[in-house]
Amino acid sequence: MELGYTGVAYNRTLKGVMSESDRCSTPLFPLSKLTPSSSAFYAAVKFHRERLNVAVSSSFCQSYDIVAVRPMNQSAFDQTCQVSEVDMIAIDFSEKLPFRLKQPMVKAALERGVYFEITYSGLISDAQSRRQLISNCKLLVDWTRGKNLIFCSAASSATELRGPQDVANLFSLLGLPMERAKAAISKNCRSLLANALRKKQFYKEAIKVEEIPSGRHVTAQSAFDEWLKWDPISSGEGDLLLDDMEKSFAVTNTLTKTVRTVNFTSNMNGLPVHGLQIKDLISVDKAAFEPPDTDDFVPDAMEIEEAASVENPEEEGGVNPLHEEQSDLPENQGSLSTLCKEQGEILYCLKAPSSDDSAMSSLPTYKGIYANSEEPVSISSKKLNYLDNLGANHVAPAPSQIYGGNALPDGGRVHITKIETPITNDHASKELSNLLNKSRSSAFELVDSTVENQCDEDVSAQEGVVLDNISDKIDTGNKQRSFLASSDASSQDVYVEGEQYSEMTHGSVNLGDVLPIEGFLYPATDFNGPVPDDVKGKRKEIDIVTNYQGLGKPRAGTERKRQNSHHQHFLSPFKRLLNPRSFKRKSRK
């Protein structure tokens, strides 16, 4: 974060045949201190990626934001380029490639909107891998010319990270023009995320509709401002806003009601590990984000929870997972509530998910209602109790407010695309879990847990509670995702293969494209880049208008077309320069 990135992608590698037990667990922990060095705005977004090998099933995809494939042989590579439904192809270039890159394949992949990922930690680490990397990916860089390329660091420690401009410069050595290189670490990442979200959330031409909670007194101006700041890719209340963070650190141990801070300091030590592994339980307690205080994303996130979503998982979902989860509830609730009491600082608490029936029944009633946390609109009794509990806990310590929308994520959704639901039938059993499992990155994943330590001594390093946020919402839009929050957020978790992940929620979904719904999952290959190795630099805030447009037109094709036209515009001035004839050369630097 100090280097100026605004997003973090956390990598989870799965190898071999994926089974139902592989879930996505994303431990997050907050940055205890950030030094705003170069970028003005920090938002940590949590992504997951899987590296897969052979197509197994698609139900895992939905619990992750991005699905990446690492092909291990020629046929797998061909298949991924041409057929498979993944967001990204990641090839480890620092070793000898087991297959050849073929230009028609690469071209086909580009046309389909699949991104290629190049990891740059090989350039930094040692000479051998550097050589291999440069020679291998020079081909790719030449063919793609920076289009659909993403640079990531597969850093195994904090020393292997580099700032975004540094990375861009490194790749300009490979012959990529500087502009393209910079785009590859910023714009491409963002558009990849947008595409991925779109694929998961929407089906064809669906539009997401937001509701403004009626309970909030927002002036027209402020509402608009909120929208402008709305970032569809961000994880919602997982976002750390710089101002908030600075304030929170300034006040470190003093919690005052007037301070609207995002306190990520939850003493993880106190949190039982399993207590955080709430599948589905949660909806994040938006304690710090009160509507009048909004200048952060969270309220927007909340609004968006009510947005339409394509799938109506709760309608079709099997009841079974839900029941399981609910049984887990009491203990989790207990643990969390005690924790909340103790800490007094935790702004994120887990709420019980609403039950199946209630969710469905709440749907009609919930529309347009932005209930207060106390209102038991679509809540099961458990949830109610829990909320009360939370409410009681949080009154004293911090200005906590549980967003109604937050609390009732399920109900909040306006399902516009009900017609599309037939798609979801396949994954009925998973749907519910999808619903319920939503992990919100309330904390930020540090590059390395030790970096945290470095950053701050006063504020204890925390691992945020990752909450499966029921509220769906915007951001990662992956309602389907459920992440296990394990308190031990460090990279150790990642290393363990076959670790229990939280349950995958499967979204039936949506494809932004015309392509079939099922994402192919290839069983993962090795673990790579344990620690949040993917740090994407995104400095731009998405213009809200374009956002809506982007969402409204989930066709990746159109977007690609736009990109293509950009591409051509971009090329034409260069063509003149490259022309050896005696044209007047523009002095272009």
Partner: protein, 154 residues
Amino acid sequence: MVGFKNRYLLMEVFVDPNKDFSLDEPIIITQFNLSKAIKDSILTNFGECGLASSTNSFQVKYVNPITKICIFRTSREEYQKVWAAITMVRSIGNCPWFSTFLTLVEVSRPAKKAALKCDESKFEQYKLLAGERLPADAHQRMQNCVEKVKALEH
């Protein structure tokens, strides 16, 4: 007209990010060891020719050991290579380190301004982190460094 065109690279250096931040730095960055490390990196990555062509105008203009801000001057033709080489430096002496790019300017005055600004903000952070452990002479050293920046040519 000036024949030589230079580029000034302003960078921030991180030494050993894995350790707990402490005021006792394992190594003091000086102009000398910085330039040695970078030249080694150019040598391994770009070879003898690369080193030769960049050494001509490569100079470490300013280093602030407290805030770890550095200004390098390179020629306009070689700045990308030098920048890449700096990025690829993994350790200085025995300490792992890495650097972050801040700005790239063409004349030294904006570089100095930027350096001053960065210095100040980093120093504030440093003070925050250090708390009461701030050594007494830290302010004095900062002052010296600031003077040095201002005294840079042009």
